[in-house]
């Protein structure tokens, strides 16, 4: 029974990973790509690790998988934020059909 539930969680995670990577190759500019890929791939990897925890239970490998979940959550979101801020400051243009650019006024104030 535990194996079936863990396989369901792993399947959900693989589906989220698939849609995130599809957004990585299909969307038009770097900001769209990163906002599509980071969130869904993080959730997918969370789900895979939780499936591994459900399969093994409270032994060493399950608890290590449970520890890996907050590391993935915090590290990947902080890394995505730093990457987007860096690429904005570097001067990479947004997509020409983008409608809103709120960060430009904030960034000029920081200068």
């Amino acid at each position: 029974m535990n194996e079936i539930i863990s396989l369901i969680f792993i399947g959900i995670g693989v589906a989220f990973d698939f849609f995130g990577c599809l957004g990585l190759i299909r969307l038009p500019d770097v900001y769209n790509r990163l906002q599509a890929a980071t969130k869904s791939v993080t959730l997918g990897t969370w789900s895979i690790l939780f499936g591994v925890f459900l399969r093994y239970g409270f032994i060493a490998v399950g608890v290590k998988a449970l520890i890996c979940i907050p590391i993935i959550f915090f590290s990947s979101t902080v890394a995505a934020h730093a990457l987007i801020r860096g690429s904005y400051i570097y001067g990479i243009k947004m997509w020409d059909k983008s409608v809103k650019d709120d960060y430009s006024s904030v960034y000029k104030k920081e200068e």
Binding site: A37, V52, L83, S87, I92
Partner: protein, 88 residues
């Protein structure tokens, strides 16, 4: 149970080729960094599935280590993009 895990593993390995496509083809330098970042998160999932497939339990340690090292690498590349030195 075994063939289902195999299929999931093959799907994840195919998804990492999507990331390689973005790393090779990316028009700007930031696109390549996005590909590296996403690839680092995918490898954690691949390691977690390899634990189930092979039964070797030390692979989950490699997953944790890869997560932390991927974070440090991405932060360093983002710092390089902003044009500052690493100790500022």
């Amino acid at each position: 149970m075994k063939p289902v895990v195999d299929i999931f593993l093959y799907i994840l390995i195919g998804l990492s080729f999507f990331c390689f496509y973005r790393i090779i083809r990316g028009p700007s330098v930031a696109d390549r960094m996005v590909g590296i970042d996403i690839f680092g998160i995918l490898v954690v999932g691949i390691c977690a599935l390899l634990v189930i497939k092979t039964g070797r339990l030390f692979l989950i340690d490699i997953a944790i280590t890869w997560a932390i090292l991927s974070f440090v690498g991405t932060i360093t590349l983002a710092k390089y993009l902003t044009g500052k030195k690493l100790n500022e």
